[in-house]
């Protein structure tokens, strides 16, 4: 016995169950915070119970005799043990607390401590039954509600369930609806006895067994062995003992029970997995990006970039006498606090997005969430769309930071600005010289000092030649530069738009797409883990 136990390390039952339990634990992890807590708690309880039960060694098999009051559980228990260990009586209900009897050298005390069954008896060594821990449960259908609670507790943890029915009570709703139907997946770890068979004449007994088998089959328990027994005559008891001996000898009882638990809980959770996520369609994410760009004021900033460029070009290349006028007007980018080099984390002075733009963002985000989660089983679509909106409140700030941190185009001054500026200064100087010269000439003649000598080029006097073409050329050059600056401004605006849109796209990816994809990944993880648990 003890040698057999050491052959198999406690806590291990072969790869399959361990792997499925690990899958179930992973599924609980993936579903935590997403799926109904109560159902996940059931799964967690199965995993925990399995760890505890396997830790106590799989050499022993805990077999419980369960059934209605008066069906003869205690009599059968005594017949199996060989002594009147459990009190038998006519006063209903008789047994109030579970009583245990165990066979073998290895003490079943740790196991019974775990099962919280204090009334216990060591039957000694019996080669056939070594490892068997037999429990006599209280009834589940009497007016004593505490008995039912005790049965519920132990039915959930024992390795093998022996349902003791009798000809009077075999079709009671109490046992079928409360225990047998919910345990339909546990047919491998159950036996059904029709006890007190001696009370029926042989023909009636046969039809009774057929009816019971029909009933069980209708409940999905077709595979459960059904045995006619009688504790009074001893009929069927050797056969029952043989069945129990086989189960104990196989050392698989605990693992089979736990596997059935895993199957049952997995089947219950399977409705949360079905269908593959369609993923985020490109159209929906493009819509979100466009709505975010509108809300971020990309158009406003791009227009400001355009105007700012023109303004600075005019300052550098405009006609000097009128340049100062430009200085009176603020730089459009500076007004938005975007004048300098990009600073991550600073706040712009952009006006907040309009209500319509904000609504547009929410509508696009909602549509994305809805399409991404479409086709998944509840509650996943809801989870996906909640994930899409998780960072909604932080979006204005993130968009502003994205705009503030955008490089709105090189702040360099094109070389032609300097050249043109120099040319403008030169032309202005020439015009100024011409003008001053003419002023001096005007003063000269006003003071009647006679005609001063004025050099001529051809028929035209030099000062006039300096002033008029100087002014005209300056104006012409300013006009030309303005055209040129307009071209440059458009180019810079386009570049700024590209950079802004890139950054807004990144915000869309981080604040909207990533949470959605995280949720879809959690769904995939959940399904994969559930498949592992299903084996």
């Amino acid at each position: 016995m003890s040698r057999l136990l050491t052959l198999r390390r406690p806590g291990s039952t072969g790869g399959d169950l361990d792997e499925r339990l690990r899958g179930l634990a992973a599924a609980v992890d993936a579903g935590a915070g997403r799926l109904p807590a109560a159902e996940l708690a059931t799964a967690t309880a199965v995993v925990d119970r399995a760890a505890q039960r396997l830790g106590l060694g799989v050499g022993a098999a805990v077999v419980a005799l369960a059934g209605a009051t008066g069906s003869g559980k205690s009599s059968l228990f005594n017949a199996l043990v060989g002594t009147d260990l459990s009190a038998v009586g006519v006063r209903r209900p008789t047994t109030a607390t579970a009583i245990a009897c165990w066979w073998g050298e290895t003490s079943a005390d740790p196991l019974l401590d775990w099962l919280a069954v204090p009334r216990r008896h060591a039957a000694g060594v019996d080669p056939a039954l070594d490892g068997l821990v037999l429990l006599d449960l209280p009834d589940h259908d009497s007016t004593e509600r505490s008995h039912r609670a005790e049965v519920d507790r132990l039915v959930a943890v024992v390795d093998l369930l022996v349902w003791v029915l009798d000809p009077q009570k075999y079709a009671d709703a109490a046992v079928h609806e409360r225990y047998l139907v919910p345990l339909a997946g546990h047919s491998d770890v159950m036996l059904v006895l029709l006890n007190q068979a001696d009370r029926l004449p042989p023909t009636a007994r046969e039809s009774c067994l057929v009816d019971l088998r029909r009933l069980l089959a209708a409940e999905g328990l077709a595979g459960v062995p059904v045995l006619a027994t009688s504790a009074r005559t001893g009929e069927g008891v050797p056969e029952l003992r043989r069945l129990l001996t086989d189960r104990v000898a196989s050392r698989r009882a605990a693992a089979e029970r736990l596997a059935a638990d895993v199957v049952a809980v997995t089947a219950a959770l399977a409705r949360y997995c079905g269908g593959r996520a369609a993923g985020v369609p490109a159209g929906a994410s493009a819509d979100v990006a466009a709505a975010l760009a509108a809300a971020a004021g990309v158009d406003t900033v791009v227009a400001a970039v355009d105007r700012s460029h023109r303004s600075r070009a005019a300052l550098a290349t405009g006609w000097p006498p009128l340049r100062w006028l430009r200085r009176l007007r603020p730089d459009p980018l500076r007004r938005l606090h975007l004048g300098g080099a990009p600073v991550e984390g600073s706040r712009t002075s952009l006006p907040p997005a309009s209500a319509a733009a904000r609504a547009g963002v929410r509508t696009a985000v909602r549509a994305l969430g809805a399409t991404a989660g479409a086709g998944l089983p509840d509650p996943w679509p809801e989870l996906v769309s909640t994930a899409a909106r998780r960072d909604e409140a932080a979006l204005p700030d993130r968009l502003d930071a994205a705009v503030a941190g955008a490089d709105l185009g090189p702040d360099r001054r094109p070389r032609w600005w300097a050249l043109t500026g120099a040319a403008q200064r030169l032309l202005a100087t020439v015009a100024l010289v011409g003008g001053l010269w003419l002023l001096v000439l005007f003063g000269w003649s006003y003071l009647q000092l006679g005609d001063p000598p004025v050099p001529h080029v051809g028929r035209l006097p030099v000062p006039t030649l300096l002033l008029v073409p100087g002014v005209l050329a300056g104006l012409l050059l300013a006009l030309l530069s303005r055209r040129l600056a307009g071209w440059g401004a458009r180019r810079r605006a386009r570049a700024a738009r590209r950079r802004l849109e890139d950054r807004v796209d990144r915000v869309a990816a981080e604040a909207v797409l990533e949470p959605v994809e995280e949720e879809l990944a959690a769904y995939e993880r959940w399904c994969a883990a559930l498949r592992r648990a299903r084996g």
Partner: protein, 570 residues
């Protein structure tokens, strides 16, 4: 078959009460709704199956319903009492599926019509339909008494349990059969509690008692009956015996037979039993109906809470839309454009008016500290308003569904077919919104036409002023060539013209602002209507639920109580 005059008001009050009870609905899964649904069916059933027939004919034979667990030996007992195999007994559980009524041939007339248990079809043959009642006349049954072998109360066959409960509610006397193995079962005791509560006349048969256990089991059962306030119940003990031709030995069933025969023979004690059960059942209504009414009121207030949640969510949505359009630039752009189209201002005025409007906004923003919204979006007005409203409606729908989910009653409604797609605004909302906004634009045009009718001339003159300005320029040119110092004229003309333009623009902008307020009010009225329609989708499941308050049923009970008092006085 007498109708006693004193029973008349009672006989009017009961059907009314039954109808009011039938109108109650418990569709919301509130705490106690399942109990209330069951209780409603039970009350309605008892009024129809028992109270009405018994009140109409107080001297009809006493109906003894033999009920109990499966396998307790009900059919065997009935067969023994009748002296013939009228109800099949057997080892397969449950045995009896169709109820069997055995009565004296002289009494058969009382039961063949649908006076009692009108919901069950009558058969005389061997029909095994669970919803039929087989009537077997048997000479062994004394006149004035009928035995009804009911199906079991606790087997896996749900229909049996329901029918048994219905039959027990229709009984004048319960003959409750249990066994030594069964007598402490929880299910029968739940029914016995009900019997105690309703003061139903009760006799208990403890069947299949092993000879050695008679003393202990009988005394235990007696103490249990005592603990459950059922001391008055007659208790018969039948020891476990072998059956003779499927019947109990005469000696075993003797006491039961004798007791029933005595009851049948004594009209006074029979009437006493009938009166006791009838009074008990009527008294029980005093407790059962208020409980049903209270549960109905809870349903009603639950439905009201759900309704209020939707209203609150959509009111919030209307507030959101209002906030969105209150920021004037959205609507003023539209109104201004219509104004300019209507009064036919030239390009110059157009620019000037827009500029002045923008300037005012900026000054206003500086004074109030409210930020200026982004670029005016007149071109996208339709889509902007659509976005605003659809988003607000979507969020209102979401909020409503969320608060329904949080309410225990709301979840069941959301699961219904009438609730599909409630989580978002109606799909046709955007289309209807588009039509509504176009209608609103028509309204704005009409508004502008009306408001601007008297200002049209002024506006025309103002726009004529543009030509005037051209004239002034020509004059200036003429004056210059004519040798006059034209600069003065030009400046004078220019300032006066510009000043007038400015005045007109300011005046126009003011008119536009006034109109914009009216336009907003109208837009909000339209949006409000659409939102109300969208919220009305939530009414569909609520209407389907058809919750009524408990007032009507309470009132019907009041009428019944007064009728009983009047009867007691006579």
């Amino acid at each position: 078959m007498t109708d006693r005059a004193a029973d008349r008001p009672l006989l009017d009050a009961l059907p009314a009460l039954r109808d009011r009870v039938a109108e109650l609905r418990y569709p919301l899964d509130l705490a106690g709704a399942t109990v209330a649904r069951r209780e409603q069916a039970a009350v309605a059933g008892q009024v129809a199956d028992y109270l009405l027939p018994r009140l109409r004919q107080i001297d009809a034979p006493l109906l003894v319903v033999v009920g109990g667990s499966t396998g307790a030996g009900k059919s065997t007992l009935v067969n023994t009492l009748v002296g013939a195999p009228v109800s099949p007994a057997g080892v397969l559980r449950p045995t009896t599926r169709a109820p069997v009524l055995v009565c004296s041939p002289t009494d058969a007339g009382w039961f063949t019509d649908d006076r009692v248990l009108p919901g069950l079809a009558r058969t005389t043959g061997d029909a095994r339909d669970a919803r039929s009642l087989r009537i077997v006349p048997a000479a062994a049954v004394p006149a004035g008494l009928a035995l009804l072998d009911a199906p079991d109360i606790d087997s896996v066959v749900v229909a049996n349990r329901e029918l048994a409960a219905q039959l027990l509610a229709a009984a004048d006397l319960w003959l409750f059969v249990t066994t030594a193995a069964r007598y402490a079962d929880a299910v029968p005791w739940d029914l016995l509690h009900t019997a105690a509560e309703r003061s139903t006349a009760l006799a208990v048969v403890l069947n299949r008692v092993p000879a050695e256990a008679i003393g202990e089991v009988t005394s235990h059962l007696r103490s249990m009956l005592h603990d459950n306030a059922l001391d008055g119940a007659e208790l018969f003990v039948i020891p476990e015996t072998t059956l003779v031709d499927g019947a109990l030995p005469a000696a075993a069933a003797g006491p039961v037979r004798a007791w029933l025969a005595a009851l049948a023979a004594d009209a006074d004690s029979r009437a006493g039993v009938i009166r006791a059960t009838l009074t008990g059942a009527l008294d029980a209504l005093d407790r059962r109906i208020p409980a049903l009414a209270a549960a109905a009121d809870e349903q009603r207030s639950g439905a009201d809470r759900l309704r209020a949640a939707v209203v609150a969510a959509y009111e919030l949505a209307a507030g959101e839309v209002e906030d969105g359009v209150r920021d004037g630039s959205l609507l003023r752009g539209e109104v201004l454009a219509r104004w300019q189209e209507f009064v036919g201002t030239g390009e110059f005025m157009r620019t000037l008016e827009s500029r002045i409007g923008q300037l005012r906004d900026r000054v206003w923003a500086a004074v109030t500290g409210r930020p200026v919204a982004g670029t005016p979006v007149r071109d996208a007005l339709e889509s902007s308003v659509e976005d605003l409203v659809v988003d607000a409606a979507d969020r209102a729908a979401e909020r409503s569904v969320a608060s329904w989910r949080a309410e225990p009653g709301g979840r069941s409604l959301l699961a219904g077919a009438g609730s599909a797609g409630l989580g978002r605004s109606a799909p046709e909302l955007r289309r209807r919104l588009g039509a509504e906004i176009r209608a609103w634009q028509g309204f704005v045009l009409g508004l502008v036409a009306e408001e601007g009718a008297d200002k049209r001339t002024a506006a025309r003159i103002a726009s004529l002023g543009l030509n005037g300005a051209g004239l002034a320029v020509m004059l200036g040119v003429f004056a210059h060539t004519g040798g006059l110092t034209g600069g003065e004229i030009a400046v004078a003309g220019g300032t006066s013209v510009a000043g007038q333009r400015l005045l007109e623009a300011v005046f126009g902008d003011q008119a536009v602002r006034t109109l914009a307020v009216e336009a907003r009010v109208d837009l909000m009225r339209r949006v409000q209507r659409l939102l109300v329609d969208d919220a009305a989708r939530f009414e569909v499941p609520l209407e389907e639920a058809g919750v009524v308050s408990g007032a009507a049923v309470r009132e019907a009970l009041g009428v019944l109580v007064r009728a009983r008092r009047a009867e007691a006085r006579t």
